[in-house]
């Protein structure tokens, strides 16, 4: 008798264990769980804080986000920011590829690049904004200059160190088949350094986002294209704190989507598939 009931409970618990294992093994489930937990902590601390004008709750923020999306063109503002961001990002990444490829071939260019990186990488992009505005006026050009600065140096640093750590054997294999110059860079160095390159692209993406939102906060007022930063700035002036939070949440959501979906997919079909990264 007792045997029967024992197997009964263990079957039940086995089903539960299987469900739990499945949940733990699914990256998506884990991520959603983490996000839900953070939202819960936010909600509770805002409720006990009790000052919605300073710190709105999670639910109030989501409601404001919904309202902003449906009636205040938040999506359009996000796209305005995103399109500038993509332009600057692509320009900087291409520029970095050219410079780093030259640095691989010429020791002088490498020295130059390393010096420039150690000079400019610590310089906050936003600190260049006043200068950029002086040179290029209030407009997209200034934003692009700042963005390129934010992306170029960290990405070049990651790519250069990726190129430098390509295994000697793989370099020799490339040279053995007579590869030189651009074909050597494209067929050996770039794929072999792809884990570092993707890492650099992720870091640079975060830097670019940060810089752009900050730049829009500074001169969004007089900019014709109202981006996300401008949305945040405007609502702060009118003390719509829940909408400020909604704008920030939008920044976070876009960041999570790009990092968690776009980069994840690229990694899954390349470096993870090739066993170069776990």
């Amino acid at each position: 008798m007792s045997d029967l009931s024992l197997t009964g409970t263990s079957e039940k618990s086995q089903g539960w264990i299987r469900l739990r294992d499945f949940a733990w093994n699914s990256a998506l489930v884990r991520k959603v769980l983490v996000l839900a937990l953070l939202a819960l902590v936010w909600e509770l601390s805002a409720r006990y804080g009790g000052k919605p004008i300073l710190f709105p709750t999670f639910t109030a923020t989501m409601a404001a986000l919904w309202e902003a999306l449906t009636s205040e063109n938040l999506l359009l503002a996000s796209w305005a920011s995103l399109s500038v961001l993509l332009k600057g990002y692509v320009i900087a990444v291409l520029l970095a590829f050219v410079i780093v490829s030259l640095a691989v071939v010429s020791r002088f260019v490498r020295e130059l690049l390393q010096t420039l990186i150690s000079m400019f990488n610590p310089l906050p992009a936003i600190a260049l904004l006043p200068l950029a505005m002086l040179w290029f006026g209030l407009g997209e050009k200034s934003l692009l200059v700042v963005l390129v600065h934010a992306v170029l140096w960290p990405f070049a640093l990651a790519t250069l160190s990726g190129f430098e750590s390509v295994p000697e054997t793989q370099r020799l294999v490339g040279r053995n088949y007579g590869l030189r110059g651009p074909s050597y860079v494209f067929r050996i160095l770039i794929p072999a350094a792809l884990p570092s390159i993707l890492y650099g692209m992720k870091i640079a993406w975060a830097f670019a986002w940060r810089t752009l939102i900050a730049a829009e906060l500074v001169f969004g007022v007089s900019s014709s294209s109202g981006g996300l930063g401008w949305f945040i700035f405007r609502n702060r002036n009118e003390l719509f704190t829940d909408k400020v939070f909604a704008g920030l949440a939008m920044v976070i959501i876009i960041g999570l989507l790009v990092e968690g979906i776009l980069f994840r997919i690229v990694e899954n079909v390349t470096v993870r598939r090739w066993g170069m990264q776990r």
């Binding site: 295994p167 054997t169 294999v173 040279r175 053995n176 007579g178 072999a192 792809l194 598939r273 066993g275």
Partner: protein, 268 residues
Amino acid sequence: MLARDPLPPAVFEVDRLVLDYPTSAGIVRAVDDVSFRVGEGERLVLLGPSGCGKSSILKAVAGFLKPASGVIRVRGREIKGPGPDRIVVFQEFDQLLPWKTVRQNVEFPLRMASKLTKAEIRERTEATLRKVGLERALDSYPHTLSGGMKQRAAIARALVTDADVLLMDEPFAALDALTRTQLQGELLDLAEELGFTLLFVTHSIEEAILIGTKLHLLSPHPGRTITSLDTHEFGREDAGSARLESLSREVHDLLFSPKAKKEILEHV
């Protein structure tokens, strides 16, 4: 000194080769005045203790190292830098490019350096991979293969080209003993079937005698020629035989004991 018999036409020859390495303490001589020649279908093994410059010689033949003096000729032409007429099989497993499947890795030198059509390349790649027993791993990525399979793929990548000479730098040194013996046998079968010309570097005396038709013994610091031996009559059926063992001992004495070296050389 090389024998002055009528020489078969050399596929490649190394003439009075000197190799130097720059170090922080100045220039160090790695290889001093080494000469040899290898005829069609011959398998020359460079054998010696570590520091005898055997890998450096192979790297110089591949074109990765510039000689301080001396000449390396392939089919009568002095080599200038690396090229696909001399394909290298390395010791390291990461010589297969991890972002390419086995098939793509083997196709790679053909796509870079031959004028074959796509269909011909495909056919040749598959035929070669069948020869080394990898037909079932065609579309696997290298990280899913065992060490032995990786080295088989690297050998296939060398065989698939019409290289004048294959250069193998201790290709089996990182394998376990069983796999090593198996791959040595397979390499010999392939050599008999295809008759390729091979320069092979190893520090294992038995491997040298089995693989080589000729041994070139080197002394360390700097690498100098001790002597060269003809071993073409030894095949895989001799593995573990008394004949091979006595030759191994002789080679060992030549390499490691100066006194015995003198006696044996005077005796010869």
